[in-house]
Symmetry: C3
Subunit: 303 residues, 3 copies
């Protein structure tokens, strides 16, 4: 990214998102998106709407170009310092789109030589399969990115545009045991699939177990962070956010747009209603109704 | 499994477990064990004794053959629909045994070409060693299944019929440090073994540290799920169930037949007495007496 | 270690740490450091100052040589049994230094044939890089030990004398998403580095995400145990102890010499002041002042 991109190009890309545009951006070169402490003249800075003193921050930025919402005014200070001010409704979304389009690394399609792929696996076009990744007899869609040292067992179905980070394990036997008459533990049959929808992301070292007699399902657009455990027969809806160290026990259901903070643990056979928010470290032992926020151990509704 | 198995064969296998047997099962072909929503005429259905309305469920099953306990009666409805009803004392155990015998994938013995095994490691007969698995100078029994991308360090002893799922790490140094006089942290010597008994299962991405001056021990028949941490010098008894995300700190003792729910954390030097049950998300800071149930943070006895 | 080391050599090594030295240690051979239950005549035993009845333990040890603090007296019993008693101020530190010097395995520098290292990675002298380890375009110092099946992404900087245990994943994208106007989740740009100081240790299967627009930083001397998650933009100071299953959410700051017990979870944007102690299973939702001890869910100051 040392060569950078012309601000003109970025402005053309944002186009309809821009409410107002101040200053002269001809030939202005942007090399970085960077944290406040690192901002320099080649950084495209942005003012988080959640911050206070937005005007002060803008006027003191070392950047020559700034994205903000309409609470920042193009004052004489900004004019005199020849800053470009780009006003959008949602600066964080704008910077996200710009980052995605111009600054993020693009992983090129490639099947690594050290990947070990079952001869009956079906993998769509434009896949990236990382080093030492092991893929069983699976069905995998287009444009997937399976990073390094991942293990995907047999009987896994993965949609399009899915990313799996390194060290994740998808599709091992679920953890269910019956006591034999002599007290020995025998594994209850674990014969189901894992079915992962389009645009899902699975974090590093996360584990997703196959279903027992049914399937384990992750809905489209859902994002799961590192070191999570998704047990057998769990069903997760669309656009759910599951942060790190979350434990979802067997047969639980998480509906669309739920947000689960880090280190939350769900008992088995629990239902988390749509749009619910579960706070950090909560231990969920009961169903959570639609749209509610629950915290604590055992978790209760936050008043 | 698309070819299926004759119900006659299954009935012969169950034999002594069967209390009553109703209907004509000649030539009846079973292809699947499946979840209630997926049951079809080729499924061997079963009625979980924990469910209510067992008779109703049985009479409305799409399956031609059903296993239940003696609370389901072979009514005219079942007779007229030509269903086979197999009555056993413990239908869940019956279906477990059937799954294990007829439907579960059998992993054949194989040392993968990409496995890296220390030349002084001793491994018994009929081992499966998965792709990219690294095995140090260890002693490993018969009929083990070590899945993919597993790392087993030196000084590990593993019994017979042990399964280790992908990404598990067994035998790295325990986490103990001393402050040097200048404040730097030096690792306390970690020189012990990990000793794992027969019929143990270790879940994906679980970590088991070697002992410091003693050993870390996992007793026969114990099952550990994904993403657990078993610290140095821990001693775990027989037939213990340790579910996902459980953290057992250094030198703790877990006695036989204990059941530990997900995301439980044990302080170091704790004793969990035989047959105790530790509820989801519990933080155990004291010894738990034999047979008690503890929950909460800090955990207390459940009254 | 079966050949052992002469006690004379150990005593010369400890030298200035020794306050008093009793008994005849000529030709006395030490083969092991071992747990109390395993102590034999070839073990160098030590009496933990935290134990009660230190004199009794010393007099009943099967070892011929014992390290203790000055609470153990060289009684007639010890004289008669011809024991050697080495008195130091900090026997645990003494045994740590002895273990490190004479008994711990030394990993020799080696780049494993199966390691996959980016051609633009810069790695210092005397590195050990384990089997199947994948290293991106990184800067890595001298004397590092990167164990097996580790993944280090691009944009990671690692200091000298750093150890990374098996299965760790360092440098994947942080977990931050913005909602697009249609409700889809887009990843906020994750463009920063992970910067790891000298003498850091990273445990097995631990994950450390790269910064978003800034960096994720781990200070010198800090030790992180297994299965931890360190999110984007986290900043950790010097000589911090982070035990297993700890979750540090985005942009949190942990100052020097903090001690975090297992399974602790920190909300994002939290500051943990110097020398603080966070108890097992604590859920930290507020800043913790310097030197305080916090426990519980939500965590509060321990009185």
């Amino acid at each position: 990214m040392t060569q950078g991109v012309l601000l003109t190009e970025i402005i053309n890309f944002l186009k309809d998102d821009i409410i107002r545009l101040h200053g002269n951006f001809d030939n202005l070169l942007i090399k970085y998106l960077q944290a406040p402490s690192m901002v320099d003249e080649y950084t495209l800075d942005w003012i988080n709407p959640a911050k206070i003193e937005k005007q002060f921050v803008a006027e003191n930025s070392k950047a020559r170009a700034i994205i903000s919402n309409n609470e920042v005014i193009y004052t004489k200070t900004l004019i005199d310092s020849k800053k470009v001010l780009i006003v959008t409704n949602d600066p964080k979304l704008s910077i996200t789109k710009i980052g995605h389009r111009f600054f993020s690394d693009k992983i090129q399609p490639l099947i690594s030589h050290t990947a070990i792929i079952n001869e009956n696996a079906k993998i769509g076009v434009n896949a990236f399969i990382g080093e030492n990744t092991v893929i069983g007899k699976c069905k995998i869609g287009n444009n997937v990115k399976i990073h390094h040292n991942v293990v995907i067992y047999d009987n896994v179905e993965i949609g399009n545009n899915v990313t799996v980070y390194s060290g994740a394990v998808i599709g091992p036997d679920g953890f269910g045991f019956q006591k034999d008459t002599n007290g020995d533990l025998i594994r209850f049959p674990q014969l189901g699939k894992v079915i992962i929808g389009d645009n899902v992301e699975i974090g590093s070292n996360t584990c997703i177990d196959r279903g027992a007699l049914g399937n384990t399902e992750i809905g489209p657009g859902t994002k799961i962070n590192n070191l999570c455990h998704i047990a057998h027969n769990v069903s997760i809806g669309r656009n759910v956010i599951i942060t790190a160290h979350v434990n979802v026990s067997g047969s639980s259901i998480i509906e669309d747009n739920v947000w689960i903070a880090p280190n939350v643990s769900l008992k088995g056979h629990i239902i988390i209603g749509k749009n619910a928010f579960i706070g950090v470290g909560a231990v969920i032992t009961k169903n959570v109704p639609v749209g509610e926020t629950w915290v604590g151990n055992p978790a209760k509704k936050l008043k």
